[in-house]
């Protein structure tokens, strides 16, 4: 491996991590509060979960493509890639937030209310701690998926390890493809292991 290639692997890995990190931060910041809100609005659940489901079924390359012509969020570059990654990451986090909170034993919830807990205390002291493990599992799945999907960002000028893969595909150079795919796989494995470890720190519901 030439020093130039090694250097580029490091740069693109860093770029990849930024794409994934920013996308996941936004997805978590949107999906967890939205999931909490949805547990209080049963009729909305179908619609929102439906939307998130549809987002997941759009082939990722197509979704990136669809976003390009859109004003503000679209165009060529990183921010369009991040929007697409966020749309993909929303569903697992949202769904697990809902499942986790709705899965809290009704007897536990009822006794919390009967003890005189306020809505906020019920949420922060009972529902979220008991749902934490499930929510984190959603974050883990979303993160691992996003690490893979982010390789497509390169197709719309978003950078990241996908740059190698697309370059390798164009020049039929499997070393280049590996230079992109291998670090991406390693990051995914590390994220899976790390988040799985955090998950186990929380008590099962």
């Amino acid at each position: 491996m030439t020093p130039d290639l090694a250097r580029e692997i490091l740069d693109l890995t860093a770029e990849h991590l930024v794409l994934v990190g920013v996308a996941m931060a936004i997805a978590v910041a949107v999906a967890i509060p939205a999931g909490i809100l949805l547990t209080r609005r049963a009729p909305l659940q179908r619609w929102v979960i439906g939307f998130a489901n549809v987002m997941q079924t759009v082939p990722s390359l197509a979704l990136f493509g669809f976003l390009i012509p859109l004003p503000f969020i679209g165009g060529i570059g990183k921010h369009t890639a991040i929007v697409a990654l966020v749309l993909y990451a929303l569903l697992p986090v949202l769904r697990n937030t809902l499942t986790g909170i709705l899965g809290v034993d009704p007897a536990v919830r009822e006794s919390a209310v009967a003890m005189g807990m306020t809505g906020r205390q019920l949420l922060f002291e009972v529902e979220l701690p008991l749902a934490a493990r499930t929510i984190l599992a959603g974050v883990r799945v979303a993160t691992v998926t996003t690490i893979g999907t982010a390789t497509i960002a390169a197709a719309i000028g978003g950078g990241g390890l996908g740059v190698f893969i697309f370059r390798g595909l164009a020049s039929v150079d499997s070393t280049l493809i590996l230079a992109g795919a291998l670090p991406a796989a390693l990051i995914a494995l590390a994220a899976d292991g790390g988040l799985g470890w955090v998950e186990k720190k929380f008590s099962p519901a």
Binding site: A107, A114, M115, G116, Q121, S203
Partner: protein, 248 residues
């Protein structure tokens, strides 16, 4: 003196079904009134109106002379202890944290909570040195139920509600906990409403028994008088006491 709890012509309808019909009952200070009835007779529904988990469709439930609907529900609930079947303990919190919950919500200083929790655990027969740091999953059913009772007593509420608290326990443990209930009542003299479908338990713990049948009050009597009650539903329950005497 205003009764601590008073049901006044309370009805509860849901989905076109009358679960409680024109139910009236005054609970006297210091007594243990038992709501007895088959499952589905409306006992839990009546109980949950006292701490405003449910609102009457008609009539009102008065607590200390004020309708529950005019209480701040949080204030109301923090002065009413509530014990349910399987205890409803928080699985992610230790025994000590579970028992100290309401005092903590009320802002009691940590040292005072600790003293109180340890005294209560002793009272319900769970030595704190052994049990305070455990999680609910590390307890037997009977021990969990004891923790549930300690939790309900923690903020020293004047009123206690019990919803089939010993229903899921084996017979031996159930008798132990019933004894302990009587012992605590003798010592604390609190007003209690106790729901059960077990006529023996009712006769043992009640100062008065209110028999519910299809959402109506069928009989209201002290245990000794309940044994002589004439209504069909009362006889059906009394027949459980003596299987030989039951009709074929």
């Amino acid at each position: 003196m205003t009764p601590p709890v008073s049901f006044r012509n309370v009805s509860y309808r849901v989905g076109g079904k009358d679960i409680l019909r024109d139910f009236s009952l005054d609970v006297a200070a210091g007594e243990t009134i038992v709501l007895l009835g088959r499952s589905g007779s409306g006992k839990t529904t009546a109980l949950k109106m006292v701490n405003a988990l449910l609102r009457p469709s008609a009539g009102e439930v008065m607590v200390d002379g004020r309708p529950t609907t005019s209480w701040d529900p949080i204030r109301l609930r923090r002065r009413i202890g509530y014990v349910i079947q399987e205890a409803g303990l928080f699985p992610h919190v230790t025994v000590e944290g579970n028992v100290g919950l309401v005092p903590r919500l009320e802002g009691t200083p940590a040292a005072a909570i600790r003293t109180r929790v340890h005294a209560l655990l002793d009272q319900v027969g769970l030595p704190p040195a052994q049990f305070a740091a455990r999680y609910p999953r590390e307890l037997s059913g009977g021990q969990r139920q004891r923790v549930g009772v300690a939790r309900a007593l923690a903020a020293d509420p004047p009123l206690l509600l019990f919803d089939e608290p010993f229903g899921a326990l084996d017979p031996v443990t159930r008798v132990e906990l019933q004894r302990q209930f009587l012992e605590l009542r003798r010592r604390l003299g609190k007003t209690a409403i106790f729901v059960t479908h077990d006529v023996r338990e009712a006769l043992l713990v009640a100062t008065r028994i209110a028999l519910l049948h299809e959402g109506r009050l069928a009989v209201l009597a002290a245990p000794a008088d309940f044994l002589r009650a004439r209504g069909e539903e009362a006889r059906a329950f009394l027949a459980c006491l003596d299987p030989q005497a039951a009709p074929p």
